[in-house]
Symmetry: C2
Subunit: 351 residues, 2 copies
């Protein structure tokens, strides 16, 4: 690669306004979407990437595969309900599931900071091993790097995953139709609040555990039961609100949800009030939203409720006839407001 | 994941001796191999991982695929001959090629440090784009994270790759036979010295450029020509010496090489003498070693020399009849010594 690269085209981001990367560029809001869109997707421009799905779906010799990646930089690395190890397995497995793929193989790319106690690393690796076994995926390839003390933060883990798609359902925002039911797989905001409480040394009436979990078995069962699944999205950075706004934007549809139907654990609700967060924007790591045909709403709820990870699933709204790419929230007192993607940062380094 | 994890089994690494992660655990030598073996491979234990190949090879519905990952933490991120962007493309593409796979798709997991100038990032992303286009691979999925200033180092990039294996040649150390020719694809040590010179502000008679390059087209051509390829390994951290020691260990064979046959650029040789390095242990990013049947040695050389990236290919030795897992080097004055994997660190954060 001794060729000179031609940089006639210049960076399309608003460099005068944001000359440097900010924490907010990684927090799931407007700045992150701008960075990803203009920096990466426009540069690598191809149909698979342009879908902005949780993973890429492609055909190899007649077999449909899904491929996804996530780097995990959560801080602290241990938290109630898990550590960076099960986060790194479940997060990537869930991204494959959101493509309707059965997770098969994972890679692990580990960046260690000099000085990390070996026993902490051992504990994380054992957690990865156990989570992978529970899910039925295998770590088949990996890489280890070490950076100088002060040039990393204990440990960062990247996992990429490959899954197989064994059905013909096209799961994507483009499949969403007016009248579709919007179903959330459980109570929201637990992961974000668990991390925040651990980070800030806060304690509440009862310990809030992260919801970090594998949801792939729920999705596989929904597909087995031939539920008419239109679109799936796991709720991570940016929470339920950002996921819905993303889907409304890419599908072109309006999504109308009801605040009183959204399941939130009362301790999480209380913590959000104290901390000034809206649970709609708080991160999750074992929750997803499903868009299904209204006829299949009950069958979906029943299927979800048969798994402990999604036992609190609820229909929270529906897709409306109007097509102006908006998410509207009807509050408990009846007022309706537009849900927007937040700008700036809510909770950095949550995953 | 609220299940308690059972840690009855304790960390099998020598924790009394090395309680914490050292830079040397990432530098390609003995400590790194111990960490990877005892920490990761023993934990995730499965036949694909246990091969300790550059990537995993598996069959999905009758199609043979290769899957690999690498995180890039090179410092400095810009160096003569490239930057972390082409390193991240070529490194992973080459790992796929070493499995005999044609590279198809890449993922990108980017960890940015708060404060990184947007224009530097733009330049890196354009380099990734150009390298991917030259190679014919597509970035189809990605992830962006941002960490606080002082908790990262400008940028770390993970790429995972998927390739397709369209032939029946089993490329692995187990295929190596006595008499096989050992061929290196070009002069060694340029990447490591280019990084070192940049890092330390050293200058030599002429600028040493990294050898960072895609070698996949060379490998594809070798396979097209039905060369009897036994084993391939790209020379990265740990250099030629470590690659040969790894292969001798896993194949069980002895490898005898001749010092005077190993191509080293005189400027690199001079720099190594000044810096106290042995080029055999210095990192490369566009070089590989091929084990082929002796009958095919000339055909291999001819094929390699038809590509500019491997125009300086040379036969450097052969596999001997003895099977005691050793690499021997015959020096230019005729003495023979055993080549070992270095312990401790040679050049940290070279890739």
């Amino acid at each position: 690669m001794n060729k000179k690269i031609d940089f006639n085209y210049s960076c399309p981001l608003p460099i005068e306004q944001y000359p440097n990367v900010l924490l907010a560029h990684g927090s799931g809001g407007k700045l992150m979407h701008q960075l990803i869109g203009k920096m990466f997707i426009n540069s690598f421009d191809n149909p698979m990437l342009n879908q902005q799905h949780d993973g890429a779906v492609f055909d190899v010799n007649g077999t449909k595969l899904a491929f996804t990646t996530d780097s995990y930089v959560v801080q602290p690395i241990f938290f109630p309900g898990g550590n960076i190890g099960n986060l790194a397995v479940n997060g990537t497995v869930n991204d494959l599931a959101m493509c309707g793929a059965k997770p098969l193989y994972l890679s692990a790319g580990v960046i260690l900071e000099e000085g990390l106690p070996m026993e902490r690393l051992w504990e994380i690796v054992q957690t990865m091993k156990n989570s992978a076994e529970e899910t039925g995926v295998q770590f088949v390839t990996g890489d280890t790097k070490v950076v100088d003390k002060g040039k990393g933060d204990s440990i960062f883990i990247n996992t990429a995953g490959i899954g197989i798609i064994e059905h013909d359902v096209d799961i994507s925002p483009s499949q969403i139709q007016p009248g579709d039911a919007v179903i959330v797989s459980g109570d929201i905001g637990r992961h974000g609040i668990a991390i925040m409480a651990e980070r800030e040394g806060l304690s509440f009436e009862s310990t809030i555990e992260s919801d970090c979990a594998d949801v792939s078995k729920v999705v596989m069962k929904m597909l087995d039961k031939q539920i008419n699944v239109r679109c799936l999205r796991d709720l991570t950075r940016g929470g339920l609100a950002s996921a819905l706004v993303e889907i409304a934007t890419s599908s072109g549809c309006n999504i109308a949800i009801k605040e009183q139907e959204i399941p939130v654990n009362p301790v999480v609700q209380g913590a959000c009030e104290i901390l000034g967060f809206d649970p709609m924007y708080v991160a999750n790591e074992g929750r997803f939203v499903a868009f299904v045909s209204s006829d299949d709403a009950n069958k979906t709820l029943e299927t979800m409720k048969s798994f402990s990870v999604s036992k609190n699933a609820k229909v929270i709204g529906k897709v409306s006839e109007i097509r102006d790419k908006m998410v509207t929230l009807q509050s408990s007192i009846g007022a309706t407001r537009i849900v927007e993607m937040f700008s700036g940062e809510q909770l950095p380094r949550i995953c």
